[in-house]
Amino acid sequence: MALTIKSVNMMMPVVQRFGPACCFSTSQTLQEIRLLARMRIVDNSAIGKAAAEIGKPPRVIHVYNDKRVGFLGDKVLVTVKGEMKRAYIVGLRQKQKPNVPRMDTNNIVLVDDNGNPLGNRITVPIPSALRRKGGDITKILSLATKFV
């Protein structure tokens, strides 16, 4: 019995690992807005400011489209300070189409359940490509001070 086990051990290929096994992905980041993506609130709502003060960025917990990946102008559900808030994506780090700006941060603007923005001013430039979209996002665009 012992002999057979020994022979099996000898037949098994020895897998040598140099260093610890890689526990994270080494491929390049896609900068996609998926679940638990950290965002930056760019309006002057009280809850957004409070979240920025304690240094806890809001995280995406749902994307309201079929792909479950957020793109420019999509509606998302985020957690801010333990509360669920709806928000619109108004700027992405991801590579964009020609003439559409790519921002250095992933920006969102918080809205309430009726689609009205929580703040009354947006501090960063907004992509001009959003202006061709209809619906509730026009309420946000009316707050914007600058378009790129």
Binding site: G91, K95, Q96, K97, P98, N99, V100, P101, R102, M103, D104, T105, N107, T123, V124, P125, S128, R131, R132, T145, K146, F147, V148
Partner: protein, 325 residues
């Protein structure tokens, strides 16, 4: 009936005679005598009415060529050799084809070059390099003036043919913004260079990981005019990188436009691991990574010639406009 039969009989006899005689001598005899044969069969008539082949015999053509009427009208090809200046490949690099032979298509390239020159006849795409400060106007149906202007530093320029593009970067309201423009996109209304200069590197994507002051440019900046005939100045500025995390491992790129980084042992190990010192000795790789010089001179001469024609046309049209005013 009987008459028709009688008429038909001689032809049938002729056919019968041919059967045992393979070389048809009877037909030849008829032709020499120019006897009109009224008793042609259906197939013979069809053959006579068949459309003739659509070409001229060369001896017939030559006869016309040599006729005295044609003298002095020969088209003599006058080849005027034009060669583009050597730096043209840096001024308009998008005219050069892809160096990778797998993506070559000579017909497509030629057609694209024509389209590009046609577009250049409509809008003025000036000479610019990575590091130049540029202003681009694009048509935007939702903007108040139906146009959208963006000013920024060119951090990348690449793409061949109609796919050529460049990327501008600027900081607006404390947020870094980058816009990629296709050079031959019909929605691009104007491209202007506010400050013509080069930087030490081919791509300036490291500005994303630098303090914002290095990529901040005024939207109402006045264009800086260089003296005529002067060289394109190189900006020797060395930017300071922010502390990590970075977008890429910049220490591995052998960048000249950044201040020296304090390397950790791990970084040094990574540089050694990712270094490819054999590349400079790989002649085949070098040969394949660039367009051959003969081909380049040929393409650039064509482009140069065509561009001069367009420029002269523009000049004359401008002069005509002035006169009309």
């Amino acid at each position: 009936m009987s008459l028709r039969l009688l008429v038909c009989i001689p032809s049938r006899f002729g056919c019968l005679s041919c059967q045992h005689d393979s070389t048809c001598s009877c037909d030849a005899a008829k032709k020499t005598h120019h006897v009109i044969n009224y008793q042609r069969t259906q197939t013979e008539i069809l053959q006579a009415l068949r459309p003739k082949s659509n070409f001229l015999l060369s001896n017939v053509v030559d006869k016309h060529r040599l006729s005295p009427l044609q003298q002095g009208t020969e088209a003599v090809a006058v080849e005027t050799e034009t060669t583009a200046p050597r730096d043209y490949r840096f001024v308009m690099p998008e005219f050069l084809p892809n160096a990778d032979y797998r993506y070559r298509d000579r017909v497509l390239e030629k057609l694209e070059r024509q389209d590009m020159l046609r577009r250049r006849a409509v809008i003025d795409i000036p000479e610019f390099y990575v590091g130049s400060i540029m202003a681009v106007c694009v048509s935007d149906p939702h903007a108040p003036g139906k146009r959208n202007r963006f000013v920024g530093i060119c951090i990348d320029r690449s793409g061949q043919g109609l796919r050529a593009h460049f990327v501008l970067r600027n900081v607006v309201d404390g947020l870094g913004v980058e816009v990629m423009y296709k050079m031959y996109n019909p929605t691009v209304l104007s491209v202007e260079v506010l400050k013509l200069e080069k930087r030490l590197d081919d791509q300036l994507y490291y500005l994303r990981n630098c303090p914002l002051e290095y990529s901040t440019f005024d939207f109402n900046m006045d264009p800086v005019i260089l003296p005529r005939g002067s060289q394109v100045p190189v900006n020797p500025i060395k930017v300071k990188l922010n502390p990590k995390p970075w977008e890429y491992r910049w220490e591995r790129f052998n960048l000249k436009g950044i201040e020296p980084i304090s390397l950790t042992p791990k970084m040094i190990k990574g540089i050694e691991k990712s270094a490819e010192p054999w590349r400079q000795n790989d002649l085949m790789m070098m040969y394949r990574s660039q367009v051959h010089e003969e081909e380049e001179t040929e393409i650039m001469a064509e482009v140069y010639k065509e561009k001069h024609r367009i420029d002269s046309q523009k000049k004359t049209s401008r002069a005509a406009q002035r006169k009309n005013k």
